[in-house]
Symmetry: C2
């Protein structure tokens, strides 16, 4: 079984965008408005249509089986509005994921967006995580390390006690978090390149340099997306910094807690990742249909068809099975409940 | 001749730190203080001592010849104080570089720190660049794309007209800029890992995505340090984004304007850089004595002895000569004035 741990619902019907646009319009009139959840009328037929010729078709074309699926990352936009904006928007986005999983349970399993909001605590995020895991059968969450949308001035580093209540709930529920920023409202950054990759590198660094976090939470698990940002390319720098800062060996630091996905869109980058990062810490992912949607003229295949790069990599079949399946089941243990339910 | 295009004066005598500490003390009492330059008493003997057993010894040990040398990047700290703070501090830092070049002209050639300051224009930076190039014989400058020190909220992207007066002066003087942030006052970032690498990636992205900058300044040259941040590892992502955003081919975009240094501290990273980025756009650099000062237990050699990685790379000798010498002379044409003067 080939499991893609990083897919977003980027092809949702227009009604979802209309709902969001209306929220933004309401905020323009009154930034303190307390939004009500209301309803979004999207039929099952619309959901099917939005998936069948997109993510489902690409799964089949590329030979992957199951996608760990979450709301569109760039549209989480935690920097927009107030807590009620994020809570209502997030519930709708997660509800749609649950419906898609219900329609295609053999192809998708859910991961939750969290209703983070600048200046707020994590109570609403904990509540939504419980709802998504306990009621909707989700198996993980996406955690935004910069709800300011590109100013890095709203929340403390990821090992700060601010995050601990959420981490306690994650450990209790046995779900990991992918650390994933959203769109940027800072014109310095382009969302899917400099902002994503910089935030990935920053998140890894915070976790890597923490002397307390994984002592306090030995079972807490994080996935760093987009191949870990700049980290594997600078593995020597990080190994050297670990030495200078008197940290443990980098492989020991990440061992049971930090994982990299394979959203690196060319063979040479994937080869570097596989060469340096322990296989145990690599999870297959493509993020299709996402940041880079075209066909690479050098190969004739989609840039984000990352399965091809793993297939072509000079590593053993056993290692490929770890990356495609076994590691993901270890990091997302609740996937086994889903598999038992739908695959028997 | 082997030229290292990225060295900072990280071993300056205590008197320089004392001067800076005093500036900070004055600012604590009065943030609006207009600092006077004053004097720092450091003897030639002190300067010699600070270099001979450090950078000069490592040059000899490693078999490199000439270092393009600038003030310590992490101490530029443009976010500290007001314009007069940066102007006086920068002049002293550059003066020390000029004195070291005067003492060791066969080993060092100068690159200027610029007195950027939040909320200010670039007039003072242009003036200091002129002084450093015309009076002190410097051949380039370090440009900080985030004088806020980690909040990315002070200056517009690098292709904005805000920067144009400086670029006009750079082109007129025939000097390139290395895009280099300084220390971070935002606890989100660790300076020499997440902040540097994220800013490198961001700077590259801004330049890469600009549809105007290199049309307006076809001879403007930038060096992206630390191997280009995350960029070469994500070369496929950038190639794919160029396609989606209808930009030119990435090799054409960077051809005469954007260069990567080789401050990547392990063989696999250097191999990836050399494999993907056109040789014409790679400049040898080590940043010794800098972020990572230890010995790699896997190799028994210093992490930042990047010459070893180039030496070991499976590329032709001609390409190595381009990286070690020829490309650098092309990007920093004023180095030839220095070479003629001191090497005859």
């Amino acid at each position: 079984m080939i499991i893609d741990c990083h897919g977003h619902y980027t092809t949702a019907p227009q009604e979802l965008t209309d709902y969001r646009d209306n929220q933004k319009k309401e905020l323009k009139d009154n930034p303190l408005i307390q939004h009500l959840k209301g309803e979004i009328h999207i039929t099952d037929e619309q959901l099917r249509e939005s998936i069948v010729n997109n993510q489902l078709k690409l799964q089949q074309d590329r030979g992957t089986d199951l996608t760990i699926f979450s709301p569109r990352a760039s549209r989480m936009e935690h920097h927009v509005g107030n807590l009620s904006t994020s809570v209502t928007w997030t519930e709708h986005c997660n509800d749609l994921i649950a419906r898609i999983v219900g329609l295609f349970p053999k192809n998708f399993v859910g991961v939750a967006q969290l209703p983070q909001s600048p200046g707020e605590g994590l109570e609403a995020s904990i509540k939504e995580l419980e709802r998504c895991v306990n009621e909707l059968g989700f198996i993980g969450c996406n955690l935004n390390p910069d709800p300011s949308g590109g100013y890095f001035n709203d929340v403390p580093p990821l090992d700060d006690k601010y995050w601990y209540p959420l981490y306690e709930k994650m450990v209790e529920l046995e779900v990991p978090a992918m650390i994933h920023v959203s769109g940027s409202c800072n014109c310095t950054f382009h969302a899917t390149s400099s902002y994503y990759l910089g935030a990935d590198t920053t998140a890894f660094t915070q976790l890597f340099m923490s002397k307390t976090l994984f002592k306090d939470f030995p079972n807490l698990k994080f996935v760093i997306p987009h191949g870990g940002g700049a980290v594997p390319y600078h593995w020597g720098r990080y190994r050297g910094l670990a030495d200078m800062l008197e940290l443990d060996n980098i492989n020991n630091i990440i061992e049971n807690n930090i994982y990299f996905d394979t959203c690196v869109y060319h063979q040479e980058g994937i080869d570097l990742l596989l060469d340096l990062v322990p296989t145990e810490n690599i999870l297959f992912a493509s993020e299709m249909i996402g940041a880079v949607r075209g066909i690479d003229p050098l190969t004739g295949h989609y840039f984000d068809d990352t399965k091809r790069y793993i297939d072509a990599a000079k590593i053993s079949n056993n290692k490929k099975i770890m990356i495609f399946e076994e590691n993901i089941k270890k990091v997302y243990p609740r996937i086994n409940i889903h598999l038992e339910k739908y695959f028997g």
